[in-house]
Amino acid sequence: MVRIKSRYLLCEINVTDKSRLLLLDDRAVMTAVRTAVARIHGDYGAAQCIIGVSVKYMNAHTGMVFLRFPKRCYKLLWSALPFITCMETRGQKIPCFLNCLHVGGTIRTCQKFLIRYNTQQLHRLLPKCKNEETRETSAEEADSEEDEVV
């Protein structure tokens, strides 16, 4: 069977200022990844980025990103992700860092992990919520996440 295999990295973008997270979009993430790889791995890394590297899903509310890498070079490109310190969008530089949560072979496995992860986070965060409002918004965000990826 000839099948093109790839690796999907589920990453979480952490920013200090939550409101600025909403400004990010998939193109900003893509340029940040490309520049980081070019700096860390030079022309060789930049060439690996041309074919098959893309941002498959980006949720600005929760900061979840699915990055697609080809199977042959995903470790090399993965090693450059911790060196991303800021993303530039619409003329603003937003300091942030990427946390890689899961590596999967297909988008579906990553989505299943994301749903489990969100329920775990919900169980952790809800007891701490002081009032009804925050409780509702966090539950809403987790639900919308589940539906969107499909």
């Binding site: 070019a38 700096r39 791995h41 030079g42 022309d43 060789y44 890394g45 090693s79």
Partner: protein
């Protein structure tokens, strides 16, 4: 790795030594010191392989300024990166240049002679 006499294979750590004449420059009279030479090679590694490539540890064991020939030593897993970046290094301060690698061997002693140039009597 042990100190100076590191040419023996020890515990699976092998160093490869390159003897190369470098660079063949357009303007023959340019002089390069040993430090500039090493910096030039590091720049080449950085262009092709980025920060990770520039961190590759290699040594310039001996450098002859007049002929611009040097002995380089590199761990064997870094040989491909070093050799490819030397190949693709094309210009030094706006002059075209080329590296010619004369010999590669895991043993320093083997670089003293070349059996092709051996004269019998």
């Amino acid at each position: 790795m042990k100190g100076v006499s590191t040419q023996k294979k020890s515990t699976g750590y092998q160093r490869v030594v390159l003897k190369n004449s470098a660079p063949v420059l357009e303007n023959e009279s340019t002089r390069l010191s040993a430090v500039e030479f090493k910096q030039f090679i590091i720049t080449g590694l950085k262009i092709l392989y980025g920060e990770v490539g520039a961190a590759l540890t290699f040594d310039v064991l001996k450098y002859d300024e007049d002929s611009r020939t040097a002995f380089l030593r590199v761990p064997s897993r870094g040989l491909v990166k070093l050799w490819s970046s030397l190949t693709l290094l094309g210009s030094y301060q706006d002059q075209a240049c080329a590296f010619r690698i004369l010999q590669v061997s895991p043993f320093l002693l083997a670089l003293t002679g070349n059996s092709r140039e051996l004269q019998l009597d």
